[in-house]
């Protein structure tokens, strides 16, 4: 059930008390260094260190953004913009904190800002086709039998949930962040996140039930 992102953050080697092995024995390969060390190297102009950070987090970030905006190409553009902003703000980052939540906060904020633009992604998503040419969603289709259909149906419902709640659902239920991690990414208290999560799940259940009992 849990996807790779939780794993990525759990494995973030710059947690207090968990110094990565490579820093203890002096390995210099960027892909094996901790996030904090890579940030320090990137600040001093080492592009390969920043490249290692990008490669480490890009798939997770693109996946989250794709689930938010329901458009993979747009999600890639947003991810690139996210890393560009991170690169320009590296000097502001406190290396005693974890890099992952900081990165995802910038990325999620970009995604939510995009969702709040006047353009209506939910209407656009109805006519959008997937990479393989199939329709993104068919609202009047019968109960889905394959996982792909299920994913499309879930995405259709997610598109109808306000961005503030959708973000919580994507991060917690689709990407497997813990409530504390979601709180760190969204920049709210954990109690607030739990309250929003409750509302978001209830809203999802309501739309799910309505969709199944209301064949248009």
């Amino acid at each position: 059930m849990r996807s790779g992102l939780r794993h990525d953050l759990d494995m973030a080697p710059d947690e207090p008390g968990r110094r990565p092995e490579n820093e203890r024995i002096g390995i210099d390969r960027p892909e094996e260094m901790g996030d904090a060390r890579l940030v320090e190297l990137a600040r001093s102009g080492d592009d390969s260190a920043f490249a290692a950070l990008v490669v480490r987090y890009e798939r997770s970030l693109i996946r989250v953004l794709t689930r938010l905006v329901h458009d993979e190409e747009l999600a890639r553009d947003l991810a690139q913009e996210t890393f560009w902003r991170v690169y320009r703000r590296l000097h502001r980052f406190d290396t005693s904190r974890r890099f992952g939540p900081w990165l995802f906060r910038i990325g999620v904020n970009l995604g939510v800002d995009h969702l709040r633009k006047p353009e209506l992604p939910s209407l656009r998503s109805l006519d959008r086709r997937n990479v393989d040419g199939s329709r993104a969603i068919e609202p009047s289709s019968p109960d889905p039998r394959t996982r792909v259909d299920l994913a499309q149906e879930v995405q259709y419902i997610l598109d109808r949930i306000p961005p503030a709640y959708r973000t919580i659902l994507v991060l917690r239920d689709l990407e497997g962040f813990s409530s504390a991690e979601v709180a760190a990414i969204v920049g709210r208290r954990e109690a607030t996140i739990r309250w929003r999560l409750s509302k978001a799940r209830d809203l999802f259940r309501e739309l799910w039930d309505r969709r199944r009992t209301d064949p248009r």
């Binding site: 059930m1 794709t66 999600a75 560009w84 299920l150 994913a151 659902l169 259940r205």
Partner: protein, 171 residues
């Protein structure tokens, strides 16, 4: 004896606000026990909990489908962006240049004003200290004859006027 209706509905509302957290395993242990005890007896809340459990299970199941298909890295594009930013002067450099230019301009203007005021003051001092042209000799003689001889009997009101030919005297 049946429980009071008010207590029951309030409790159901409290329980139903926590059911979404129960199905996602996000409920604190004390609340969890209270909710689970309630669900044993309350059919409505149990039905709602089952509906929530079904919906959230489907939501989570959908995460198994890969959300992204393009596996190429965004690093090459990002690297080009970073390299391009290094070749163009940054905003801060432009800011420093503009501020420096403005400061130089103000400094030049200030120096110009100071120089102008100094030259004006010098010219005033020079004009005030410059000797007035002497009167023609015939006028001087006329004045001397018309005037009483002050050198012998100077008046107390004009103590400094000792000579009629004093170039510093004022008229």
């Amino acid at each position: 004896m049946p429980r009071p209706r008010i207590w029951f509905s309030t409790s159901c509302r409290w329980i139903q606000s926590r059911l979404p957290l129960l199905v996602g395993d996000d409920l604190l242990s004390a609340d969890r026990r209270r909710v689970e005890r309630h669900l044993i007896h309350c059919v409505d809340c149990r039905a709602r909990g089952q509906a929530l459990d079904h919906a959230i299970s489907r939501l989570r199941e959908s995460s198994l489908v890969p959300a992204i298909s393009n596996s190429s890295s965004i690093w090459p594009g990002l690297e080009r962006q970073i390299q391009a930013s290094r070749h163009e002067p940054s905003r801060s450099v432009w800011g420093i240049a503009i501020v420096g230019l403005a400061a130089s301009l103000f400094l030049c203007l200030g120096l110009w004003f100071v120089a102008q005021s100094n030259s004006r003051r010098d010219s005033v001092v020079e004009n005030s200290s410059k000797p007035r042209p002497a009167l023609p000799p015939e006028e001087t003689a006329g004045l001397a004859s018309a005037r009483p001889d002050r050198s012998t009997s100077p008046t107390p009101k004009d103590p400094g006027a000792s000579s009629s030919s004093d170039p510093q005297r004022s008229y």
